[in-house]
């Protein structure tokens, strides 16, 4: 899953495929912040589909009871793969569910960058000073397909996609606002796009040159140290790859894990 990165340095929990399982994690992280009395809160992101999962309901309930400083940010983009929101729940969106659990909730136009900024900024302050959770339902639209292996025109009309792309595109709206204030223009746009593209191409080049992770990497970070049973399994794998190199990719080093 290419988009499932994480960074401890940037306080960004590694993304997992399991839907809504991160919401109890968010409550746990908020619990930790609360215990340490930190001037910080947690933000947990999920979609309209995620609000159906049991973990969502449990997490909201917990956060309310615990009085945890966490912002639950629901990106309601109307679609969970091919399931429209009308088939996901019959409630008035996700915002009322927060209310039901005793969590203060707000619905915001998810395509309005300024509205989102304003709402989240207030939510952060409320979460930290009052030590209470907040639910923000950002209403938006999924213009793209679910993944590169999806063709969403199979389950929704092309006109609908195009309308959102044109009329309510958040990038277009924000850009128009910047230009109306004289802070942006076509040249700046072209320059930014060109620079971004160059940066990306360079990054791709650098990444392509990096050596593929060795076989030993398969066995590290399962535990804090490689235990004996995994060590055995790694040795066996190394032997197999060395004996039948033609059956395995040639650009994956068979280096052993250095024994500390």
């Amino acid at each position: 899953m290419p988009v499932h990165y994480g960074s401890k340095k940037l306080n960004y929990f590694t993304v997992a495929s399991t839907i809504a399982s991160q919401l109890p994690h968010a409550v746990g992280a908020a619990y930790s912040l609360k215990m340490d009395g930190k001037d910080a809160c947690v933000v947990g992101y999920f979609g309209d589909g995620g609000s159906s999962e049991g973990d969502f309901h449990a997490a909201l309930n917990f956060a309310a009871v615990l009085e945890a400083p966490v912002i639950f940010l629901c990106r309601n983009n109307g679609w969970a793969i091919s399931t429209p929101a009308s088939d996901q729940f019959r409630s008035d969106g996700v915002v009322v569910k927060g209310q039901a659990y005793g969590v203060r909730s707000i619905r915001v136009d998810g395509n309005d960058a300024l509205a989102m900024y304003s709402a989240v900024r207030s939510a952060r302050e409320m979460a930290i000073t009052e030590q209470k959770p907040i639910l923000i339902e950002a209403v938006t639209y999924r213009v793209g397909h679910h993944t590169t292996s999806d063709d969403s025109t199979r389950y929704r009309p092309l006109e609908e996609i195009e309308w959102w792309q044109m009329a309510r595109n958040p990038l277009t709206l924000y850009r128009k606002w910047l230009e109306s204030n004289g802070w942006w223009n076509d040249e700046a746009e072209a320059e930014l796009r060109s620079n971004s593209r160059k940066e990306l191409l360079k990054a791709i080049q650098v990444a392509e040159k990096i050596e593929k992770p060795p076989v030993g990497d398969m066995f590290t970070d399962v535990y804090d140290a490689v235990p004996s049973n995994l060590f055995e399994q790694e040795k066996l794998l190394q032997q197999t790859v060395t004996r039948y190199p033609q059956d395995y990719p040639s650009d994956v080093p068979v280096r052993a894990v250095p024994s500390s």
């Binding site: 499932h4 994480g6 960074s7 401890k8 929990f13 590694t14 997992a16 495929s17 399991t18 399982s21 991160q22 919401l23 109890p24 994690h25 968010a26 409550v27 746990g28 992280a29 619990y31 930790s32 912040l33 609360k34 215990m35 049991g54 973990d55 309901h57 449990a58 997490a59 309930n61 917990f62 009871v65 615990l66 590290t220 970070d221 399962v222 535990y223 804090d224 235990p227 004996s228 049973n229």
Partner: protein
Amino acid sequence: MATVFQGLGATAAITAAANPLDSNKFLLSSRRSFSGKKTSLVVVRSDGSLNLNTGSSAGARRLDQLVTNAVATKADAAAAASASKPGHELLLYEALREGLEEEMDRDNRVCVMGEDVGHYGGSYKVTRGLADKFGDLRVLDTPIAENAFTGMGIGAAMTGLRPIVEGMNMGFLLLAFNQISNNCGMLHYTSGGQFTIPIVIRGPGGVGRQLGAEHSQRLESYFQSIPGIQMVACSTPYNAKGLMKAAIRSENPVILFEHVLLYNLKERIPDEEYICNLEEAEMVRPGEHITILTYSRMRYHVMQAAKTLVNKGYDPEVIDIRSLKPFDLHTIGNSVKKTHRVLIVEECMRTGGIGASLTAAINENFIDYLDAPIVCLSSQDVPTPYAGTLEEFTIVQPAQIVTAVEQLCQ
């Protein structure tokens, strides 16, 4: 069977234990200063020798005395009195609490969360008194949603706390399976080592006294495949405290399996601080004729069978494997090489239990040393019956163990 254990009460142990713990004594014993250096710990190895130079034979004898006390119905008073350090007597659930409290004193990142663990003190009294001492936030009562508080524990662990998640009964943790398997076990790996999850998940499991099918689960069967976790099972007050402490200090997620019927076991344990190695098996009774591998409550059925076997002239070697994931194949292997016969006695069901995996592991590694096929005695593949008599039939009884040994040793 019921007479084997001293002071076993109803398994839904809401009522207080027969010996309420004196709270002053409790605080005293946990006020030991811990310098943080390894030399101040007593780590008892599975062969009975201590890693301090205190004379290995004395240490071994002391360990045997501890083990014997846990099994016998009447404490061997003479043996206990002759130990060089008096130690103190307590029940298994108190030993768990003692370990927990010591770790919470030592490191203020350690916290507890679960249902009714706070002022109620936990359904099996393991956390009694802790909320009063450490506060409601550090000993947290949660709403009833196992997936949520397990997930919460994981999130808290990723943010630097060291939570202990209590499942009121292990079976309830099936609701948290997604969190335990997909997140707890995996996030260290998927984050490339950035996030550690030093969480301890614990609770009582196993077959109790007519708790019904849903509350008699052996979850170690289901969890054993999850990569990234460690599993240990305690069986005596001594190893309960030691494993609890070791699990809390471990950087890996550890699942600590307790047994509903073992909480009131009494034993004399050392006053000085000690931990048990998470990956080590425990030599309960050295012997020559056959290796009997077991864990948790079945240890006591095995030891009762051992008494009968000794009278019949057999010399069984009994090992409490303690570490369910990974197996201590070193200790087990040495034993197999000595006796050449293996009997596994477990409470898991026949299919896919710990015994099944252990059989495979021993066959793979030590087939050349076996004089007979491995025999595994386990529960049947049935939901645990509520009817008391039938429930007894699902559990491996000492008589079965004796018969199996006799057959194996022909």
